[in-house]
Each structure stands twice: as structure tokens, then as C-alpha cells.
């Protein structure tokens, strides 16, 4: 007896390898370069310089100040992103369409939703780094550019994913409310929101976590915060300072993780 699935399984795996090979070539993916003795020595030296951690009082104070700035940048950015994403999501969600209750969505509402979908695509297809480089020219070096960059890109992402969460949730309560004559926003607050509040919150907190990482990257192009300090320390090959700041990142991400878990429990 032979497993009848065997042939197709082998075929799919070979096909995947054949397709992946040119990708590896195109990206010059040669991981063994890492293991060449010269390169091993250089990276070994840098990693060895991580210890001892930088812990002078002056440096720690500076890290604390910039950590606060980074968290503030991420939080302000995500808050602005919410201001963009929530109205767009409400306009975009097909579940809240009254005309789609009985068959196809009417043409007007369909094109409104389609336009918003494209707006969201434009917002999030420009990486926050590019937005930041644009805004640094407009508003100058500093966290404002970072906040605006995060707001635009994350507004696009939140709007898309909120829409997907709402569309894939249990829509029976919402549809029934609409069928019984409620308004769209009433149906949202009494049907859709209680159904998906935990998922929406957890995704928002996760995005906040991503925004902290983003704001670090944005610091490298002059948006301030921990990223900028990290950039300086990297350029000086000061491993101890880099390691201390990496530890702060890990602590921040762990914090976001805990907050998300706690919120999910509270809302679930």
C-alpha cells in the first residue's frame, strides 16, 4: 500500500524549492558568509563589547529621558492613527451597509467604500520611514515628524485590519439590529463592537508595540528618541550602550505583551 498523497506532496515541495532558488540568488542570500573567520572575528568583538553594560548615571538618565520620548512618540502616533482609522473603518465596513441587507450593496455606497479602501492602501503602502523623511523636511528634525509618519502609515494599517476583524466577526447580532430598524452607528455600538472588542483592543496594543519599534527606526533618520541614541552608539561601536538600550526595548515589548494579555482577559 502506498500513501496516495505522497506524489503530490513531493511535487509541491520540489516546486517550492524551484521557485525559491531564484529568490535566493536575487537577494544574494549567502548565510555562510557569516561564518567566515574574518567576519566571525568582527562580529565576535562587537558582541563581546556588549559586556559590561553601560550604566553610568548620566547615561541611564539620558536613556530614561529618550525612552520616555520614544514611548510618547509611539503613543501619540497610534492615537492620531486611531483618529484616522476609526471613522474610515466605520465608513468602510460592509457589515454596516443598510442597502446590502437585502441582496447587493447599492452603487453609491459601494463606490464610497471602494474609495476608502484605496485611500487606506495609499496610506499604508508608503512606509513610515519614507513619510518621516518627507516630514523631516517639512517640520524639521525631531519627534513631530516621527509622530506624523506613524499616524499616517498606522492609520492605513489599523483601518484595513479593523475592517477585516469586523467583517470576519459574528455578524448575526448586527444584521438583526439593522433589520429591525436601528441606525448604522447604533448597530455598531450594540452589535458589532461588543462582538469584537477584545480582538480590536488586542490588535491595537500589538500595533502600539510595533509603533515603539518603528519610532526607534525613525530615530535613525533624526526623529529623536532612543533610536537616535542607538544610532550614535552604533557609530561609535559602543557595545555596552547598545546592549543597555536593547534591554530597554525588550522590557517595553514585554510590557506591551502583558498589557495586551490583561486587556484581553478583562474584555474577553
Amino acid at each position: 500500500m502506498r500513501d496516495p498523497a505522497w506524489v503530490s506532496r513531493v511535487a509541491w515541495i520540489s516546486l517550492a524549492v524551484v521557485l525559491l532558488w531564484p529568490l535566493g540568488v536575487a537577494t544574494e542570500f549567502k548565510p555562510w558568509v557569516l561564518l567566515e573567520p574574518d567576519n566571525l572575528r568582527v562580529s565576535g568583538q562587537f558582541i563581546a563589547s556588549f559586556w559590561p553594560l553601560a550604566h553610568s548615571q548620566e547615561f541611564l538618565l539620558m536613556v530614561a529621558r529618550d525612552t520616555w520620548r520614544t514611548v510618547a512618540m509611539a503613543t501619540a502616533g497610534v492615537t492620531l492613527a486611531l483618529v484616522i482609522a476609526i471613522p474610515l473603518t466605520l465608513l468602510n465596513t460592509g457589515v454596516l451597509s443598510v442597502s446590502a441587507l437585502s441582496g447587493r450593496m447599492a452603487r453609491g455606497p459601494f463606490w464610497v467604500r471602494q474609495t476608502i479602501r484605496w485611500l487606506l492602501i495609499v496610506l499604508r503602502s508608503v512606509p513610515e520611514l519614507v513619510w518621516a523623511l518627507i516630514f523631516v523636511r517639512v517640520v524639521g528634525l525631531g519627534p513631530t515628524a516621527g509622530v506624523l509618519a506613524i499616524a499616517l502609515t498606522y492609520g492605513g494599517m489599523l483601518g484595513k485590519v479593523y475592517g477585516e476583524i469586523l467583517e470576519s466577526s459574528e455578524t448575526h447580532p448586527t444584521q438583526t439590529l439593522l433589520r429591525n430598524g436601528s441606525g448604522r452607528l447604533q448597530a455598531f455600538f450594540y452589535g458589532l463592537l461588543p462582538t469584537s472588542a477584545a480582538e480590536l483592543t488586542s490588535y491595537t496594543v500589538y500595533r502600539w508595540e510595533c509603533a515603539i519599534r518603528s519610532s526607534v527606526v525613525l530615530g535613525f533618520v533624526g526623529a529623536g528618541g532612543l533610536g537616535q541614541q542607538m544610532d550614535n552608539s552604533m557609530k561609535m561601536f559602543n557595545g555596552g550602550e547598545v546592549a543597555t538600550m536593547l534591554l530597554v526595548f525588550i522590557a517595553l515589548v514585554a510590557l506591551a505583551d502583558r498589557v495586551s494579555a490583561w486587556l484581553r482577559k478583562a474584555l474577553g
Binding site: L101, P173, G181, G183, Y206
Partner: protein, 289 residues
């Protein structure tokens, strides 16, 4: 319950055909040239074997499903010729209780019941009511009618299937509707609860002079509580009689080849299984660029 007695809505179906909402476009229509006339404030039970088109009929009456042929007239108006806004306002005069109670699992019972009032409330008032329930006594009184007063501040997912179904009915008591459409209200209830729930509905509909159309699997309940009974089979009206004239022979003909349903052995489908635990919310997929 201090809602002023509303005058029920009168309805009329002429040669109406419609497809089940989930059916393919090529499928045979679930309603085939149906004629029916219900006066304002009448109470009608619709019985018939599975697949007779009872749920589709309710969907059509609730303006949820446009007919494929024929006309629906509610109080002299054809809803499908109204502008969308007027149609939505008309829907506010209807209350459709679907067979599966439409309650978000994480919502509290008091909020679920008060949601029945939404068509009569402005947006600001409904948001305030989320912050502090607008009319706790009314919600409590409505729940009391179904023996659920103690569950007022419970969360919906702590309730059994039967309790949820009754919460769905209690919501109807708060709705400003002039026409109640109740789909299989008893599918998750035991016989005692069934009689009590249906007595409450019929009684309230009578007091408020609301038109009531309910589909029922339990023929004895329909005959006992409703003055008028419509038998449906194959998408058409088989008989439309006062309850007292529905004879054993007529029932036998209506349920020919579906005798087990007439005896009350309704096959329990997953959607109406009593006390079925709620399906846990699916974990959300995370994306990071």
C-alpha cells in the same frame, strides 16, 4: 410595561415568490405564488413541515428579503418601492426575532434587551444607555415576563441556550414595533417554558394590539394559543383557518411524510440545540507588515 397601545400593522401578500436567503440563484423558490392577508392586530401562527418556506416567509415579511415576484404590502405601502431611508424607518416598525438569538456573547443581558428600543432612540441616547442603562425597570419587567429577572446584569455567554432565546423575546417587548415576527421561538425551550413564553407573547401582542406572526414547530401550542393558524407546505398556503377548524385530517395531510415532526420529534440541528455552549471567539490573526 407602559408602552402606549400601538395599532398593529396590516399586511398583504399577492402571488408572492421568494428564494431562501442562502439559496443559489438557480434554486427553486422557497415561496411559490403565495397569497396571504393579515389584518392589523391579528395573531397568526404558521405551521408546516421543515422546508415549507416558513422562515423565508418571515424574512420577506420583515423586509429583509426582496420578493422575486408578486408584491408585499405593509399598511398599504410597498416597502421595496420606498426610498432606502423610508424603508429603514419602516423596518423600525417591525420586530423580527430570528430563530438563533442575535445576542453578542460578551454583552450584558440588560443591554441586549434595551437594544430593542434602538429604533426609537437617538444616537446620543443610545450611547448614554451604554454608559448607564437607560431604563433598567423596563428591561427588568420584560425579563420578568420570561422568568429571567435575576439575569438582568449577567453576561449573555453565561446563559443557557433556552435563556438566550427568551432574552431575544424579551427584547421584543421593548421594541417600538407594530408588527412582531417571531421565528421558531420555542426551538430551545422545554414544554413548560414554551407554553409560558408563547402565552406571554400572545398576551402582550393582544394588549398592545400589535400584529403577531410566529412560525412554530409545536402544532399543539399553535392550536392552543393562536386564534388563526396558517398551514404551509412547499412554499404555498395549504390551509388558513381559525384554530378550532384545524382538524386532525388536515394536520395529517399537511405533515404527510413528515409525521415525526407532527409528533414533536423535531430533529435537533446544531443551531437550535438547547444549551449549546457558545463557540469560543477565534483568536485573531496578527499581521506586522
Amino acid at each position: 410595561m407602559s408602552t402606549p397601545a400601538a395599532n398593529g400593522l396590516a399586511l398583504q401578500l399577492d402571488a408572492l415568490s421568494a428564494r431562501h436567503p442562502a439559496a443559489r440563484a438557480s434554486a427553486a423558490p422557497a415561496l411559490k405564488g403565495l397569497n396571504l392577508r393579515v389584518g392589523a392586530g391579528e395573531q397568526v401562527a404558521i405551521i408546516g413541515p421543515s422546508g415549507a418556506g416558513k422562515t423565508t416567509l418571515l424574512q420577506v415579511l420583515a423586509c429583509a428579503l426582496p420578493p422575486t415576484a408578486g408584491t408585499l404590502t405593509l399598511d398599504g405601502r410597498n416597502p421595496w418601492q420606498l426610498p432606502r431611508r423610508a424603508l429603514q424607518a419602516l423596518r423600525g416598525e417591525l420586530f423580527l426575532a430570528p430563530q438563533v438569538p442575535p445576542l453578542p456573547p460578551r454583552q450584558r443581558v440588560v443591554t441586549s434587551v434595551l437594544a430593542g428600543r434602538l429604533p426609537a432612540m437617538g444616537l446620543m441616547a443610545s450611547l448614554r444607555s451604554l454608559f448607564y442603562p437607560s431604563d433598567i425597570p423596563a428591561a427588568h419587567a420584560a425579563l420578568e415576563r420570561f422568568d429571567l429577572g435575576a439575569k438582568l446584569f449577567e453576561r449573555v455567554d453565561r446563559l443557557s441556550g433556552g435563556e438566550r432565546q427568551r432574552v431575544g423575546l424579551a427584547r421584543g417587548l421593548l421594541s417600538p414595533a407594530r408588527f412582531w415576527l417571531i421565528d421558531e421561538p420555542l426551538s430551545a425551550l422545554d414544554p413548560t417554558r414554551s407554553r409560558q413564553a408563547i402565552a406571554t407573547l400572545v398576551d402582550e401582542a393582544h394588549t398592545r394590539r400589535v400584529t403577531l406572526v410566529a412560525t412554530l414547530h409545536q402544532v399543539d401550542v399553535a392550536l392552543h394559543h393562536f386564534p388563526r393558524v396558517v398551514g404551509m407546505r412547499d412554499g404555498q398556503v395549504a390551509f388558513d383557518l381559525p384554530a378550532s377548524q384545524v382538524t386532525r385530517d388536515r394536520l395529517a395531510a399537511l405533515y404527510d411524510q413528515y409525521e415525526h415532526e407532527l409528533r414533536g420529534e423535531v430533529p435537533v440541528s446544531p443551531s437550535n440545540a438547547p444549551d449549546a455552549p457558545p463557540s469560543a471567539p477565534q483568536p485573531v490573526v496578527m499581521h506586522c507588515r
